[in-house]
């Protein structure tokens, strides 16, 4: 030993077990911060690829850009790629309805367009089609097809190439056709012309957009943004994105605070138990500053082990998530390396560790320095005398050992606050991150119990007989059908949203306050199964077929799609009356339930969407034929079953294949789910380990005190009860305050920031119960180890352990 600060090293080396526990606690806290921040970093990388796949790799677009504007934009130093895209109303190919697009060749990869065969369409009479459409049409590269834009003027076009299927078009049954840019430019039909802009990685897109608008005099209505991509790269001003950023910022701040509290707690316990040693050092001449330095040095020595350990653990969690996603979709995520190192995550973990230890050592150092040398020298104050008042109260009402346990917990207020705060923060984090889970389930569509694999659809109606035949096919797991049509529905005009009034313009109001419907509403029939499945989107009311039938009920849907954009036309609540023109005159119906959304949309302009039972639907419209039969397939023999169903699609019946779209939707969901659940699992695991480690440390640090109690006659069972009571006090206070604050946070986050995406907050009873049960069990189990050790050791051994 050359300098006095080496005492820290010697202390840590002499108390290996305690040092190990402290290192473990700090490691876990660092791992928590590194894990969560790295996972977020990597999530955004994965999400970016996912969003580019789903929505295209462009940041903003300029509508009807002139050549001069294009030249000015493409010449900017912060622009990576630009391209023109035309979109048209549906046209036809060989007589079948089709979607038409045209994308400048250099921008095609940005729009996830992958050429499989042939060449990119260049000449004025060239087009490319999707693989599945080529098969359906029996057309190959070099073949001539009859193609028409929306003007229905058919012309011969040469198929120059075939590109990979798009899930969406495959599911709607309308093939995607990409015509050459020349053909698009020449076409004299209604068309949209967008100039898509992809900026370089570090560009300030908001600023660039402003500059482009200002310098070229482009008005706001000519600009549109790829909000999904902007949101993922943190450059969106969209309301929902900003709401999510705020939720994220708050939750990540809580993770940081939790890390800090956990590390502080570990330190506090470790320093408090050695107050006497510090007092002795003061006797032999150590100044307060020197004591502070010893404690600080000890902290940094612990960090030397804890930081690399925490960083590795945190990275392991991230690696696990990355590996899972790459395994599931190696093709899409091939660009992301398996070992993704996140400098942001590592730096935040290291910073949290170092800063916390620096800050956390301040208070104990001060406290240690305040220790009276007298009490240290004489040994007084080693076992504190608690206030007789609380002990007296407790011993009157509880067995003495339980009273002592609770008294121990309550008497040392700071320890009580820190122990319960570190439990509480774990719970707050757990409950807070559930908001992301809610968000994910609400805003990302995925295959739900009702998602069909294939469907048969006909405007003219499908007979109940066809439904029976489809249901009876051996490879069909489930078939369910819907009727839908348009109705005149009137309701109280005050329910209309400003958004709708603005979109439609003048809305006439009748004398009785109902609106004179400017547009028809969409009415859908649901069978029992579909009503049950809709429960996941229920905002208010109940979904009982019998109740709907008996009370002439309808279900209102909050979100409606208008021109491809989701919006809310009216604010329905249960009990609202809707007057519908039925086959037998106008009738009043009651809104018995409100759904957030329905899993399908209508391309026609509707006032609102209502759902009712098949019986009421027929009563209202007089129609008995289904518009669509959805089919879910069994796993085995899919190709044969699909072929059989396809063969039923004759005359006006369309066969729709949603399988690719479903798997793409699942992929989108999975990308986020892996990380969101990853967050929750990391938080839960680390919280549990943190409780175990702090309880363990707390008991280990009281070995001598417990030895004294055994020496004066406390039995092993009484010791168990005393420690259990103390642990339970920490746990109860921590769990209760954690649940209260966590639930309030959850409510505030959802109500304050996520109402725009219609997430409804409900009291998370199951989560709260689970939290209480887990923290109680973990707390009780975590003291078993050290207790067993105390009981198995001799009393004198325990007493001497802290000499």
């Amino acid at each position: 030993m050359n300098v006095y600060l080496d005492i820290s090293k010697r202390y840590l080396a002499a108390h290996k077990k305690r040092t190990g526990l402290s290192v473990l606690s700090i490691t876990l806290s660092v791992a928590l911060v590194v894990g969560i921040f790295s996972m977020l970093d990597v999530l955004l990388k994965f999400e970016k690829i996912q969003v580019i796949h789903d929505y295209g790799n462009y940041h903003i677009l300029v509508k009807n850009a002139t050549e001069a504007e294009k030249k000015a934009v493409s010449g900017r130093i912060d622009v990576k790629n630009t391209g023109t895209l035309f979109s048209f109303r549906s046209g036809s190919i060989n007589g079948d309805k089709c979607d038409i697009l045209s994308v400048q060749k250099n921008f095609a990869p940005n729009m996830s367009m992958k050429l499989l065969k042939g060449t990119y369409a260049q000449a004025e009479n060239e087009l490319m089609i999707e693989d599945w459409a080529a098969e359906k049409l029996g057309a190959g590269v070099g073949d001539t097809v009859s193609f028409a834009f929306g003007d229905k003027k058919e012309k011969p076009f040469k198929v120059s190439g075939i590109f990979a299927d798009y899930g969406d078009t495959k599911a709607t049954g309308e093939p995607g056709v990409t015509v050459s840019l020349k053909a698009a430019e020449k076409a004299e039909v209604e068309k949209k012309c967008w100039y898509l802009i992809e900026f370089k990685d570090r560009a300030d897109i908001r600023k660039a957009e402003r500059q482009i608008k200002d310098s070229l005099g482009i008005t706001e209505d000519r600009i549109a943004r790829n909000d999904h991509l902007l949101a993922v790269i943190g450059q969106s001003d969209h309301k929902a994105a900003v709401g999510l950023y705020q939720v994220g910022a708050i939750l990540f701040l809580i993770v940081l605070i939790a890390g800090v509290v956990m590390i502080y707690n570990t330190f506090h316990i470790s320093v408090m138990e050695r107050m006497r040693s510090f007092g002795l050092l003061r006797c032999v001449g150590a100044s307060k500053k020197q004591i502070g330095r010893i404690v600080k040095k000890e902290g940094f020595l612990l960090l030397r082990w804890a930081i690399p350990g925490g960083v590795l653990l945190g990275m392991a969690a991230t690696l696990f998530c990355s590996a899972l996603l790459k395994y599931y979709n190696g093709y899409m995520f091939s660009a992301i390396p398996l070992f993704t190192v996140s400098p942001v995550g590592i730096l935040s973990g290291v910073a949290a560790g170092v800063l916390t230890v620096a800050a956390a050592t301040l208070l104990p150092a001060k406290k240690a320095a305040r220790v009276s040398p007298v009490s240290a020298a004489t040994g007084n104050g080693e076992i504190r005398i608690r206030k007789a008042k609380s002990e007296g109260f407790l011993t009157k009402h509880l067995p003495v050992e339980t009273a002592m346990g609770v008294g121990n917990a309550v008497a040392r207020k700071k320890t009580l606050v820190l122990m319960s705060a570190s439990i509480a923060f774990s719970i707050i984090m757990f409950l807070g991150f559930q908001v992301f889970v809610d968000f994910m389930h609400t805003s990302l569509k995925t295959t739900k119990p009702y998602t069909p694999d294939v469907s048969l659809m006909s405007e003219e109606g499908l007979s109940p007989d066809l439904y029976e035949r489809v249901s009876g096919l051996p490879g069909v797991k489930r078939a369910y059908s819907r009727m839908f049509g348009y109705i005149n529905a009137e309701f109280d005009a005050s329910l209309l949203t400003d958004e709708y009034k603005k979109a439609v313009g003048n809305v006439k109001i009748n004398a009785d306050g109902t609106l004179s419907s400017p547009e028809k509403s969409w009415l859908i029939s649901y069978d029992k199964n579909q009503l049950k499945w809709a429960g996941t989107d229920l905002v208010e009311g109940s979904l009982s077929e019998d109740k709907l039938n008996n009370e002439n009920g309808v279900i209102a849907v909050v979100q409606n799609v208008r021109k491809g954009v989701s919006y809310q036309a009216a604010q329905f609540h249960t009990g609202d009356r809707v007057f519908i023109d039925t086959a037998s005159g106008k009738k009043a119906y009651t809104v018995l339930a409100v759904l957030r959304s329905v899993p399908f949309s209508d391309s026609n302009l509707n006032l609102a969407t209502f759902i009712t039972t098949e019986k009421l639907y027929t009563e209202i419209t007089g129609d008995r034929t289904f518009k669509i039969i959805d089919v879910q397939l069994k796993k085995a023999g899919r190709t044969e079953t699909v072929d059989k169903i396809k063969s039923l699609a004759v005359d006006n019946i369309k066969f729709l294949d949603s399988r690719q779209k479903n798997s793409e939707m699942n992929q989108t969901f999975l990308t986020m789910a892996v990380f969101i659940y990853g967050f929750v699992v990391v938080i839960a695991l680390i919280s549990i380990l943190n409780i175990i480690s702090t309880m363990n440390t707390s008991v280990t640090s009281k070995m001598k005190y417990l030895g004294v109690l055994r020496a004066v006659g406390m039995s092993g069972r009484q010791l168990d009860r005393m420690i259990a009571a103390e642990a339970s006090a920490y746990c109860a206070l921590g769990a209760a305050s954690g649940c209260v604050l966590g639930v309030l946070l959850q409510k505030a986050l959802i109500k304050g920031l996520l109402t725009s995406i219609k997430i409804v907050w409900v009291f998370p009873l199951a989560q709260v119960l689970c939290v209480f049960a887990v923290s109680y069990l973990v707390t009780r189990l975590s003291v078993l180890g050290p207790l067993r050790k105390i009981k198995s050791a001799g009393i004198t051994e325990t007493l001497g352990s802290l000499q």
């Binding site: 300098v3 108390h15 032999v284 001449g285 307060k288 040398p373 007298v374």
Partner: protein
Amino acid sequence: MDILTVESLYKTYGEGNTKVEALINVSFSVKKGEFVSVIGPSGSGKSTLLNMIGALDYPTSGKVSIDGRDVYKMKEEELSVFRRRNIGFIFQAYNLVPELSVEENIVLPILLDYKKPDERYIDELLDILGLKDRRRHLPGQLSGGQQQRAAIGRALATKPAIILADEPTGNLDSKNSRDVINLLKLSVERYSQTLVMITHNQNYAAYADRVLSVEDGVVSQLGGNPQ
């Protein structure tokens, strides 16, 4: 030359009915190189007196000067430095740092003063204390007598102006107690140290140049001749 002067020292604990006067108007002085023992029954105020002299605790009123400096007038940091350089403590319970070896415990006050220990002096101390073979041992590996000898070494390490010993033989058997007292006496003579020692044992008190008695907070001189 007086190395220690105690003037009109009062120490009172509590108020009203619970008021205890631990020291009442204590005044005495100790010359350099003098060995003074303090005797008195339990609770008489001996330890309080020693804590006051070592500035481990503060009096209600009065003054203590060591080497001409008023210890209660010093600021906290200054006092720490003064204590580590000028006062050596020996406790009944040894109070060695359990994680440090005998030698490390002895040099600790020197290291706290950011100085390099004089190896020859430390070797000599270890030799006198009979701990040369035990220098690398931890306190837990030593007998009570050996631990107390190490504590004496620690008190002597910085060659302080005064050594304060609170019942240094209280935890030892008679043979070890005699050894420790002899050692203390030897150190005082060899290094011209000043020693104030509290003891219960009248026999050990007799080793001192002068004996002070404390009874109910009042200090009186029992015997011996001030040098």
